[in-house]
Structure formats: C-alpha cells, structure tokens
C-alpha cells in the first residue's frame, strides 16, 4: 500500500458509496480493468457521446447518467431518470462515519419540507397541536393545483415556520414536529 504524502498525493484505490438507505457499495480498482464492486468484477464503461450525454455501458446495455448534485463527498446521480444519493467514503472516513452514527443520538424533531415550490393557501394546524401520521397539515398551491401536504410522522407541532400566503421554495422547512 502506498502512503499519502503532501508532496506526492496518491489516492488509495478503494471507495465506499453509502446510499441514502444505508446500502453500501465497495468499489475497488476504479480506474482499471479490474474494477470490482462489492468484490465482484464489474465491466462497466463510461462514455460521453457527441450530443453531450454521459452514459454507462454494462452487459451490452446503455444507462443514461448525470450528476445532478455534488457537495464535497455527497452526490446525487440521475440514472435512467431516477435519482440516487450517496456519500463517497474512503475506508478511513467510512469507519469514522459509522462510529459517529452509533454515538450521536437520533433527532427527535422531524421537519416537514415543501415537496415543490408553491404558495401556502391554507394552514390546517396550530402550534402545540397533536398530529397523526397522514393527517393534512396545509394546502400548497403549485402549478394551479392545490396539494394537501400530510404529515409523515405522528407527534406534536413544535413550530410553524410559514404563514398563509407565503411563497415557499422546494425543500423549504414548513414546520417542525416533535415525535
């Protein structure tokens, strides 16, 4: 194994992609013919065509690929139109991540976020009220449709961060629920 030095930075050739639901893909020999994913040889090739699309070829099939978000080691990849999010870890950072997950208490507060940009046309709950899973919280108008936004958890409304007629962006936190 080569050592990382400041003068001559060498990348150790193993990465672990951890998916959102904690599935892990160990990837070895990324840039060589011996590419392995989860210890199995994988003959994947990556191409860019003249139209500007990036795609993979694997087992004689094409897969359209696009990186849609990237922030340090956090990635969102669109593959055949479906999004997948990962954090890319080295063996060392992966160990650290696992350690931290074990030792940090799970948050008790759940955020309700706007699934789409739009306008709050009606708030159906008040602060400190108890709410059941699946119960409507507010009406969000987007593209001329009124959408009922429901709670995905049961709990107590801790804080409402928006008011009627507010315009909200996608992923904006609308309210917090204490589980």
């Amino acid at each position: 194994m080569k050592l990382n030095t400041k003068k001559n930075k060498v990348v150790k050739d193993e990465f672990i992609a951890v998916s959102q639901n904690n599935k892990r893909y160990k990837i070895n020999s990324l840039f060589s013919e011996d590419l392995k994913i989860n210890n199995k040889k994988a003959d994947i090739k990556i191409f860019e065509n003249e139209d500007g699309f990036t795609y993979l070829v694997w087992k004689n099939r094409k897969y359209l690929a696009e990186i849609t978000e990237k922030n340090q080691n956090k990635y969102t990849v669109l593959l055949n139109g479906i999004s997948y999010s990962f954090s890319i870890e080295s063996p060392i950072s992966y160990k650290r991540k696992k350690y931290l997950e074990k030792h940090i208490e799970k948050s008790k507060t759940e955020a309700i976020i706007a699934p789409m940009p739009g306008k709050i046309v009606d708030l159906l709950v008040e602060e400190n009220a108890e709410i059941k899973e699946g119960e409507p919280i507010l009406i969000l108008e987007a593209m001329k449709m009124q959408n009922e936004i429901n709670s995905h958890v049961a709990g107590k409304i801790k804080k409402i961060l928006v008011k009627q007629n507010d315009s909200v962006a996608k992923d904006e936190v609308l309210l917090e629920i204490e589980k």
């Binding site: 001559n8 930075k9 990348v11 050739d13 990465f15 992609a17 998916s19 599935k23 893909y25 990837i27 990324l30 840039f31 994913i37 989860n38 994988a42 994947i44 090739k45 990556i46 191409f47 860019e48 139209d51 500007g52 699309f53 990036t54 993979l56 694997w58 897969y63 359209l64 690929a65 696009e66 990186i67 990237k70 080691n73 990635y75 990849v77 669109l78 593959l79 055949n80 139109g81 479906i82 999004s83 997948y84 990962f86 890319i88 699934p115 789409m116 940009p117 046309v121 009606d122 009406i139 108008e141 987007a142 593209m143 001329k144 449709m145 009124q146 009922e148 996608k170």
Partner: protein, 501 residues
C-alpha cells in the same frame, strides 16, 4: 372564407403542432412572444412573431383577450387558433372574434357557453336520452345543500368546478365529516383556475374508465365520430397516458356511444373538433360527463389510427367547408398510445421539476411521433403547465404498441431535469396494464412503485458517483479537461474510458 394568416394564441407543443399543419395548408403563421418564455421553441417555427416580451403583466398574455384581438387586427390576421387551455373554451373570446370578424378556429361562442356550463350541458344530455350520473341539477349554493344532496344520492360523491376541466376544482368526498373542508378546497381551486368558484356535486363512480369520443361537425349540420380514446391512466384527474381504441370497446358499444356523442354535439349546433367525455363502469354502462369544445392534448392517438389531421379539419371547417368524411369510411387502424412527458419528479410525488433542459434526444423510428415544445437549452418555468412533450406510437396491435412505446421511452434521453419517462416505462411493464385490466384508480391500486427501476441501477449510480469523486482527487496532479460542466476528469482516465468509443 379562405384563411390566409393565423395567430396561434398558445405556446408549447400545441403551438408547434398547429403551426406545422397551418403552414402545410399555405397559411402564414403568427406566434406570441412572452416575457415569461422569450426563447420558447414555437417561436422558431412560426413565420412571424408578435412581440410582447417587454410586457410583464400579472395576467398571462395567452389569457388577455383584448391584447390578442388587437394583435390580430394590427397585423391584419384572418384567424386565431386558441389551442387547448387558456382561452380555448372562453365563450367571450370566441364572441369577441366574431364581433371583430376574425375567424375563431373552434365552435361558436354559444356552443362553448352551453357546454362550458355543466348545468345546461346536463339538461341537453337528458333531452337526448344520453345517460347521466345522479347529482345536483345545477350549481350548489353552500355546504348545507351539498350535504342534503350527498345524503340523497349516497357517498362517495364528487365536487366538480362548474367552469372546470383538467382535474382542477375536483374533490372526492367519502364521508360527511370531510364535506365541508373539501367544499372549500374545491371552490378555492375553481376560483383560482377558472375565476369562478361554482361547484356542482354528483355521485362518484368508483374505479370507472374514462373514455371519450372525438367528433367532427361542420357548419352545414354534418357530423362524424372518429372513435374513442381511453384516458384512464390518470393521477389526481390529470391524464398521463391515452390510447385508442379502448380494450373495452366493441362495435355495438362504439356505435351507441358514438351516436350519443354526436347527439350531444348536435344539441348545440356544434362545429369544429370536439370531445365528448364519458365514464364507463365495470358493467360497461356509460355516463355523459362533459364535452370539451376544443382540440385535446391527446388528439394525436386519434390521428394515428384514422390518418386524419384534426387541426386541418378544424381549419377547413372554420373556413366553411363541408366535411368530406363519411362515417362509413372512417376505419380505425391498429393501436396508438400517447405518453405525456412532464417535467415532474416522480420520486417526489410528481412535483414540478423546474430547470434548464441541457440536452434532449428523441427516439426515432417508423410509427413513433414526438410532439414537443422544447429543445436543447429550453427553460422550464413555473409559469406554465409542466407538460413538455408527447410521445405517440402506433402499431398493429395493442401488445406491439406497448412494446414500441417501452423501447422508445428508453431511448428518449433528457439531461438537466427529471421527467415522467420512468413512470411511463413502469406502466408499460405492468402486467395488468398489458392485459388491459385497468381503470382510473390504476396508479393508486396497481402500482407498487411509480417508476421503473432495475435491481442494479443503484449500483451503477454508485459507480458514477465514486468515479467522479475519485477523478476529482486525481485532478491535483493532472492537466484538466472538461468532462461535464463543473466536473473534471484527468485525461488519462478519460482516454482509458473512451478508448472503445
């Protein structure tokens, strides 16, 4: 009157679609350039552009009746085609055209008015013995009246906007405790979408099929129907997939429903292209829902199986020509399916996916038709509907049409935004859909997952992310070349990977 010039009072794929037929008929076309979408694709196709792009009014250009009328007068334009949505079903707009002696490509103002008013439409249907669902005879005044009617006809019931269409202002009520809230939501939505909060109420048929008939009528009292379209694959009353013919149809039912559709049209001296919508229950009973007095989004499936250009028919009828088509000569050939490609994130409950289309690649082939409103670098804005294109396929049989749709969808590549393509592939692969066993509740009841995905897709995506991450680490010691916007890769890696290209 011969139409020599045409103002297309619409945008997106339908503006392109109307333009293409009009040009083929030797008509000079005009499009409207707006501040919201100054680089829209349709502007590249039209002969002339009416420029309103320095104008930022609250009300969209395509809804501003006087502005459109003025544009037509100023440019001495003969005719206006309203497309669908916007002013297509505004009797007032049709009337203003009549007054200004501009040819409106559509039916008379009075036909639009009568069919747009659900109460009058229902009364006409009753007069012609076309079956209807139980419900309020007219608009409902308040929640109290809604409750009374719901009790009489039994739950579930559905509220519908009297001026409605496209699923807006529509809410199903399962039990009395929800009626008050649903009344408010539906009325609010109707007010916003149609400037009219009036609602009516009717018995809700569980799991019906949505089947509509395309009709054509001229100004001389001649009518034909061009068969049915099945539009049961819907989400929140918005159609996503349409096909023609329908698996539930046989010649006898087609004849009966086709005649019912023509009777509805005759009742208002309808001319132009129109669509009569029905609900069909499990026992194949049909109920008149409404008539859409315009060209429909899903008109291409009818065009594919009849070989008739509906926009051309609309123009010829507007010019006063007699229908040259006879019912006995109309043959439905093969099977056609349309998939609406919307800029929506299926993984996030079909929420609008705004952004820039970096690249688009259309599947090509015999019997594949693409009606598109976008191209490379088109911007998806929040101002308009999320539909960006339609994929229409035509084959000998339904099975072959489904296979063709599926392979075409997989070759339909879009970079920059998420679309409903993975949803459509999932439907095309669904066993029940393939067997023709579906109704309007298909998406809720038959689809475990709303998008198509293969077991190894996540692994391949993981590879892409790791590849990019590692390549970035490499960049410290290599010369950079551009790989993707903002994403760099070292040349040796690229060479290696592109070797077999």
């Amino acid at each position: 009157m011969k139409i020599r010039s045409l103002l297309i009072a619409n945008r997106g794929e339908i503006a392109v679609r109307i333009n293409n037929t009009a040009k083929r008929l030797g008509i000079k076309t005009y499009g409207i350039k707006t501040a919201r979408e100054p680089h829209a694709l349709y502007l590249k196709y039209v002969d002339h552009v009416v420029d309103y792009s320095d104008n930022v009014d609250e009300i969209p250009e395509f809804l501003d009746i006087e502005k459109i009328i003025n544009a037509a007068k100023k440019n001495k334009i003969n005719a206006i085609h309203p497309g669908y949505g916007f002013l297509a079903e505004s009797p007032y707009f049709a009337k203003r055209c009549e007054e200004e002696k501009i040819c409106f490509i559509g039916p008379s103002a009075s036909a639009i008015y009568k069919m747009g008013n659900k109460t009058i439409a229902k009364q006409l249907a009753t007069k012609y013995n076309v079956p209807l669902l139980k419900g309020s005879l007219g608009n409902i005044r308040d929640v109290k009246q809604a409750k009374e009617i719901a009790r009489r006809i039994g739950y579930p019931v559905i509220f519908k906007a009297a001026a409605g269409g496209g699923g807006r202002g529509m809410r199903i009520v399962e039990k009395e405790s929800r009626i008050e809230k649903m009344f408010k939501i539906a009325a609010d939505e109707a007010e916003k979408a149609f400037n009219d909060p009036s609602l009516f109420i009717e018995k809700y048929v569980r799991n019906p099929r949505h089947i509509e008939f395309q009709i054509l009528g001229d100004k001389h009292g001649n009518y034909v129907h061009l068969g049915e379209r099945e539009c049961s694959i819907q989400r929140k009353h918005q159609k996503l997939i349409e096909e023609s013919p329908s698996v539930v149809m046989d010649e006898k039912l087609r004849k009966a429903m086709g005649e019912a559709a023509i009777n509805i049209a005759k009742a208002v001296d309808y001319y132009s292209a129109g669509t009569v919508e029905f609900l069909v229950d499990d026992a194949r009973n049909y109920y008149f829902m409404e008539m859409n007095t315009r060209i429909q989004v899903e008109h291409p499936v009818t065009e594919m199986i009849t070989g008739i250009d509906l926009i051309e028919q609309q123009i010829r009828i507007a010019e006063g020509e007699k229908l040259s088509l006879k019912q006995k000569n109309i043959k439905l050939k093969g099977w056609a399916i349309e998939c609406r490609i919307n800029a929506e994130d299926v993984q996030a409950g079909f929420s609008p996916n705004l952004g820039t289309i970096e690249k688009v690649f259309y599947p090509k082939g015999k019997n594949i038709r693409i009606d598109s409103g976008i191209n490379n670098s088109s911007i998806i804005t929040p101002h308009y509907d999320s539909m960006i294109a339609k994929l229409i396929v035509h084959a000998e049989t339904r099975d072959k049409a489904i296979s063709l749709a599926s392979s075409a969808l997989k070759k339909f590549w879009i970079k920059g935004i998420k679309t409903t393509i993975p949803f459509h592939i999932a439907v095309m692969s669904n066993k029940k859909f393939r067997k023709g066993e579906f109704n309007t509740s298909f998406i809720e009841t038959e689809m475990d997952k709303l998008y198509y995905q293969e077991p190894n897709d996540e692994m391949l995506a993981a590879y892409v992310a790791a590849f990019d991450f590692a390549a970035e680490l490499e960049t410290d010691r290599s010369t950079l070349i551009n790989f993707q916007q903002g994403k760099n890769i070292s040349p040796w890696v690229l060479n290696k990977r592109l070797r077999s290209l």
